[in-house]
């Protein structure tokens, strides 16, 4: 097992390196320079800035020096924010995003699995239809519509929650809901479809024939087998939710990380682009690794990555 984990860790490093390399050259390949604005700055000033940030060196030189700094976990300065380094930005904003993401994920998984299961068990009933209408709405109503609606109804009209910003638990409820609804809908749909499939399997019939209680049939045999696709999408979903979402942060004025994925590209803030990408990748690859481990735990027949040994 240790050997397995070490190998995956090595793989993680290699994957990250590939991502860093591709992103590095990709971002320099697109037009636009970090310091351009509507009014053009004098050439000398621009040269000073390029020199200050080491952009006057050749690309391979910049690449190597970036990698060297990276091994010391130094992600560099931000060109845009003169006061925060990339490390500062992640340290300040990731905890916020992560907290919100975990709450959203909890909502999504709990409601999604419950809705999907109920819908499947009550196939073609009113409950099933209700659950699926919720799912359809959840996916087809984008966050830019849902989030202001939540604010207008629950904060402005009902006054249950603060309108926006960050601080207490109450501040997190609406944004976590807005974030979680879409994921919930996706999970509910996948769960329902797979539950239906599993419920039609012979072993379920066998289990029932053995006289197992309904609870045991559903809990031990059906959900366990039907949850596979949900686990699969949990990998990327977790990574996306934990590292923040631009729209929800913007609407609820949350000091999260999501805005930096967009802002950094818009500003051509190279170190921030790289830093956030590396951070996101690390979370993603780790989450996907955990998903693979979960496969084996849920269905012991599945062996990931060990067949070659």
């Amino acid at each position: 097992m240790l050997k397995f984990i070490l190998r995956r860790l090595g793989m993680l490093v290699v994957t990250l390196w590939v991502i860093v390399t591709l992103t590095f050259f990709l971002m320099h390949a697109i037009p636009g320079d970090p310091f351009s604005k509507e009014g053009r700055m004098p050439e000398a000033t621009k040269e000073n800035l390029m020199k200050y940030y080491g952009l006057d060196k050749s690309l391979p030189e910049q690449y190597v020096s970036y990698l060297i700094k990276l091994t010391k976990f130094d992600l560099g300065p931000s060109y845009f924010s003169k006061t925060q380094s990339v490390n500062d930005i992640i340290a300040n904003n990731f905890p916020v995003s992560a907290r919100l993401g975990i709450q959203a994920l909890t909502i999504a998984v709990m409601f999604g699995v419950a809705l999907g299961t109920v819908a499947a068990l009550k196939h073609n009933s009113a409950l099933d239809y209700t659950a699926m209408v919720i799912a359809v709405l959840g996916v087809s109503v984008p966050n830019i519509v849902l989030a202001p609606l939540l604010i207008n109804v629950f904060s402005v009209k009902l006054g249950w929650f603060p309108i926006a910003r960050w601080g207490t638990f109450a501040h997190t409820v609406l944004p976590a809901t807005a974030l979680g609804v879409q994921a919930m809908a996706v999970i509910a749909r996948l769960m329902r479809s797979n539950m239906l499939e599993v419920l039609g399997q012979d072993y379920i019939r066998t289990a029932r024939a053995k006289g197992l209680s309904q609870f045991a049939v559903v809990w031990r045999h059906t959900i366990r087998n039907a949850i596979m696709p949900v686990i699969t999408i949990l990998g990327p979903l977790t990574a996306a939710l934990l590292t923040g979402t631009f729209v929800v942060e913007q609407i609820f004025a949350i000091p999260g990380m999501g805005k930096y994925f967009v802002k950094s590209v818009n500003n051509r803030d190279y170190p921030v682009i790289l830093g956030t990408t590396i951070f996101y990748s690390a979370v993603l690859v780790t989450a996907n690794f955990l998903v693979d481990v979960a496969y084996g735990l849920i269905d012991p027949r599945i062996k990931v990555g060990v067949r070659g040994e």
Binding site: T15, L26, V145, M228, Y295
Partner: protein, 310 residues
């Protein structure tokens, strides 16, 4: 409830054997697709979904000719008018008819949604299927490639595509969506295959000497159809919204043409002003599309399910 009902003699009836009927085939021989279609037809909800899809497509094609305006015809004085006999869906902030813009936009959005779903199906399913089936080192390598594609900043990729491809049209948008859109599907299918390939019927088929191709396409993928179809139906609305995002970056359809996604974006911006029709109609169109594809997808899943085939 479990009590055995009493069996009486009256319950039985003698059947006369008509020898002439012996040669008649009771059920016409039908192939897989005919069978699926037959079962699909029996599913009212699914047929409703299909009807809705056809309706939306037909309206997208012919709807714009039902009113005497074009999508870019503007009368500034008539801006932000509500529903009326002259403008069935109201007008937007430049005084353009929303009805004609909705159906014009439907052409863009529906095509993009369908093409994205298709690319999901073709690239994602095959890639994920191979990865899961091969397993081991190849699986690990293929999945790490997926991770890399997933982690690359999408904005960068899109801006690069925008610059590289001089001509901008629907093909470019579809390519930008297809570039990384399939990776979610690939992961999903791979997860399913990992689970399925350890099952007895696969072992049986393999023992009988079935080829990889046959195993994948006749056994593993058909048995993963549930999540595949569900995921495809989810791809349609997300592609519609992704297009709205692309036009925000400058790669989507160029104004004055609009898609449902861009119309929703514009509608959200005026939510405060109370011009509800500007958000309502495009949003309803996307939800209807979503609903139609979902119920149709569910029906299709049931109809194609090899286990349910009788």
């Amino acid at each position: 409830m479990n009590r055995m009902p009493e069996i009486t003699k009256e319950m039985f009836r003698r059947i006369e054997v008509d020898k002439s009927e012996a040669e008649v085939i009771a059920r016409p021989s039908i192939n897989f697709w005919q069978d699926a279609w037959r079962r699909l037809k029996m599913n009212n909800l699914a047929m409703f979904g299909l009807g809705l899809i056809i309706f939306l497509v037909v309206m997208a094609l012919f709807g714009p000719y039902l009113v005497p305006y074009t999508y870019d015809f503007q009368v500034l004085e008539d801006q932000n008018q509500g529903i009326s006999a002259a403008h069935w869906f109201g007008t937007d902030d430049l005084g353009r008819d929303i009805f004609v813009r909705i159906w014009n936009g439907g052409r863009v959005s529906l095509l993009i949604g369908l093409m994205a779903a298709l690319s999901d199906l073709i690239i994602g399913v095959i890639y994920g299927g191979l990865s899961g089936y091969r397993g081991g080192k190849i699986d690990q390598l293929m999945m790490r490639i997926v991770d890399v594609l997933y982690a690359l900043p999408y904005l960068l990729v899109v801006i690069l595509m925008m610059v590289v491809m001089e001509t901008r049209g629907i093909i470019t948008i579809i390519m930008a969506l297809a570039a990384t859109g399939w990776v979610g599907m690939a992961r999903l299918v791979r997860g399913q295959i990992l689970q399925l390939k350890e099952m007895e019927f696969v072992l049986a088929a393999r023992t009988l000497g079935a080829s990889t191709k046959r195993l994948l396409f006749k056994h593993l993928i058909p048995n993963s159809m549930g999540p595949i179809i569900v995921n495809m139906t989810l791809t349609v609305p997300s592609a519609i919204f992704a297009e709205a995002f692309l036009s925000f970056i400058g790669l989507g359809v160029q104004a004055p043409l609009a898609s449902w996604g861009t119309m929703v974006n514009e509608g959200v911006a005026v939510m405060l002003s109370g011009y509800w029709w500007r958000l309502f109609f495009p949003a309803v169109m996307i939800s209807l599309t979503m609903f139609a594809f979902n119920v149709f997808g569910d029906g299709l899943r049931d109809a194609l399910d090899p286990k349910l085939r009788k």
